[in-house]
Symmetry: C2
Subunit: 149 residues, 2 copies
């Protein structure tokens, strides 16, 4: 899956930098450009390699610092899967989806389900929690890995 139009992302980033007296830098621009050009679920190391194949060299620390900045700005979300992978993905305002992860090949599929979201809100209410976010991971075998075994 390739990422959709990303004006909201650049705009959001500009706004966040401005609001926090942070700076526009060559590295941040390059990192974000590559991130937006990559598949939906990106690991820090992959982004590091992609960036360094293209333009000038950027340190891995800067990749992490930039991803953390994007998280702060609520422009990306991070998912940590049970297999240990940690991936970053776009967080378009007002949207949410969850993940199916293939335990054989690692493929990641997405889905949205309003019914689950509403039950979650209900449960939080019952338990007296004020809900901020959630993560739902379904682990199994994708179609092609089922055929293989």
């Amino acid at each position: 899956m390739i990422k959709p139009g990303s004006k909201w992302f650049w705009d959001g980033l500009d706004a966040y930098l401005l609001a926090n007296q942070l700076k526009q830098t060559k590295q941040r621009k390059m990192i974000v450009e590559e991130f937006l050009a990559m598949p939906a679920h990106v690991q820090a190391e992959q982004l590091y390699q992609r960036v360094n194949e293209k333009g000038e060299k950027v340190g891995l620390a800067t990749i992490y610092r930039t991803l953390n900045l994007l998280k702060e700005a609520k422009l990306v979300e991070q998912c940590v899967f049970a297999d240990g992978r940690s991936v970053f993905e776009l967080s378009p305002p007002g949207s949410h989806h969850d993940h199916l992860i293939c335990i054989s090949c690692g493929e990641i599929a997405e889905f949205e389900n309003e019914e689950i979201e509403s039950v979650q809100r209900q449960i939080a209410l019952e338990k007296g929690f004020k809900l901020y976010s959630h993560r739902l991971y379904l682990y199994g075998l994708c179609t092609s890995c089922q055929r293989k075994t």
Copy 2:
């Protein structure tokens, strides 16, 4: 929450050891005893400390090796939360629950919801996945942390 009767656990462990030509050892016994005497959600390091406060000394590596063995045996499950904590909990056959995690104090509450489980099965079916397991984490503020802020 304190753990319920655990005959099934010891029986399951004996069976697993026997079936795999593994050995009953003093350390395994001590680790499992402490694990069962601890709260529902246990981190490796906590278990390590508890075990070493009581009986003879046990290495941290043995704690990890034993927890992994119990996972293999399907007697415990591991949950990795977004805050980085990795906890182990009992996995009584045929049961499943999910978690609410307080983003302020770290408290973990549990819930069960059959409706969500059934929607998950439906989604996996639609996407062609053969479902093996799942994890649902709700992050928010628990009742007492809401009061504080």
